[in-house]
């Protein structure tokens, strides 16, 4: 149990560091920003207590916000993702699976994992950039940012996952 928490904390810190020091500075074509930290709520195993999932997501979002100087943006969006993830996972999980199944490409199958990841990423990016712009005046720009960031992050996550599952 405590090992679990330490592992999670380790990922937490690693993701924060990588995002803040490296990935926040990448703006491909001025619109795409990779947001690797969205992978964190993705990895909550099945039947995680809801409050734990919410608190972890909120904490990660807050940490990213504090370093990126955008208070409230990532925190709000990630809390939403943390809320959605258990429900979505139930939809994708095969019927005869372990109670506390881990979420990764090897357990779910690459296709299902990719779909789950894509859905969560798109929702996150749309909400994040909507909160950032806070108006739908430039809705085309909003869609471009959300779409391209989601795509970039998706490619990154898939790459890492395929390395991990080997």
């Amino acid at each position: 149990m405590s090992v679990e928490i330490f592992k999670r904390l380790g990922w937490f810190v690693l993701l924060c560091v990588v995002q803040v020091l490296v990935l926040n500075n990448i703006h491909l074509f001025g619109i795409a920003t990779p947001m690797l930290y969205v992978w964190f709520p993705l990895t909550f195993h099945r039947n995680t207590p809801q409050w734990a999932a919410l608190l972890w997501s909120f904490a990660l979002g807050l940490a990213i916000d504090v370093f990126s100087n955008t208070p409230g943006l990532a925190a709000g969006s990630l809390t939403l993702i943390g809320m959605m993830q258990p429900y979505l996972l139930e939809l994708f999980v095969p019927r005869d699976s372990v109670e506390e199944m881990e979420v990764s490409a090897s357990t779910l199958g690459l296709g299902k994992y990719a779909l789950l990841c894509a859905i969560l990423l798109i929702v996150f990016c749309l909400v994040f950039f909507a909160l950032e712009a806070f108006s739908f005046f430039n809705w085309l720009y909003w869609l471009e940012c959300a779409g391209s960031s989601a795509l970039l992050t998706f490619v990154l996550i898939m790459a890492i996952e395929s390395v991990r599952s080997k």
């Binding site: 809801q50 919410l54 916000d65 208070p71 409230g72 925190a75 809390t79 806070f134």
Partner: protein
């Protein structure tokens, strides 16, 4: 009570979710200046709209008062302008200043403001009553006009009220009108049908004009000074005997909502009428 606790226990993560989202929203609005301004300004828009509706309502109730005060103020300002012009003329010995300003009619005419107290639109011979009479200086055969254009002629007076024959009366003595800028004149008549439309008859066939041009009083009658708006030319017909034009004019005065008018008191009416009578008498003999 137990049901409530069970409910809370079952869905506690939703409350946690709402609480965390509220915290995120507070952070968002407090520390990001753009979101802060949008939040405050959208709140302000809502507040502003409520106050706007309230002020519209209260200002509507004070509208009649404002109208009366404005008419009175207008009247006094015109009096003041006339006085100043007279002083200026005396000071500079320059009597052509009024012609040059083009406002000479205000010199001769005194205006008595009045309110319409009864009015009809739908009869062939409509009559209007105003709330000024002999004691206010109104006499029979004085002209009545409003801010938008000509209204009619005073027909009967009592001490405190007068009856006015408006333009919308088929039996009315016809007002002499001219086309603005061209000076071709004719006589205004109403046919008893559309209260927004009247006809200018006896316009000579060699007259040149276009539809859309403005028609005003010509000043030839002893009732109205020159330049009071009558309406806009809509269509041109031939007269019944084919010898002149009949212009269909859209009246600029809205007789349907007439409240504030003024009576034109021309001191030189008596003199002109007497002169005209004398001329006619001498020609007849």
């Amino acid at each position: 009570m137990r049901n409530l606790l069970d409910f809370l226990r079952k869905y506690h993560h939703w409350f946690l979710f709402i609480a965390l989202e509220v915290v995120s929203a507070v952070l968002l609005f407090r520390y990001n200046s753009y979101q802060n301004s949008v939040w405050l300004s959208s709140a302000n828009v809502a507040v502003g709209k409520v106050y706007e509706m309230e002020s519209e309502l209260t200002s509507f109730f004070s509208m009649t008062r404002a109208n009366e005060e404005l008419t009175l103020r207008n009247f006094y300002l015109e009096r003041q302008v006339e006085q100043l012009r007279r002083l200026y003329t005396e000071a500079t010995q320059d009597t052509t200043v009024t012609e040059r300003q083009g406002l000479q009619f205000l010199n001769k005419y005194k205006l008595i403001p009045a309110k319409v107290v009864s009015n009809t639109l739908s009869e062939p011979a409509n009559l209007m009553t105003i709330d000024k009479g002999r004691s206010d200086g109104v006499e029979v055969d004085m002209g009545v006009a409003c801010g938008n254009g000509v209204v009619g002629v005073v027909y009967l007076t009592s001490d405190h009220y007068s009856v006015v024959i408006p333009v919308l009366n088929t039996t009315m003595s016809r007002i002499s009108c001219a086309i603005r800028g061209r000076d071709y004149f004719g006589y205004l008549r109403w046919d008893g049908r559309d209260p927004a439309v009247a006809f200018v008859e006896d316009v000579p066939r060699h007259a040149k004009f276009k539809r859309g041009e403005w028609v005003e009083t010509s000043g030839y009658s002893s009732i109205f000074p020159r330049g009071i708006l009558v309406g806009q030319i809509e269509k041109v017909f031939n007269s019944s005997d084919g010898l002149s034009y009949k212009l269909q004019v859209r009246l600029s005065t809205d007789f349907g909502c007439l409240r504030d008018v003024f009576v034109i008191n021309d001191k030189s009416i008596a003199e002109r009428v007497q002169l005209m009578e004398a001329a006619r008498d001498s020609l007849r003999n």
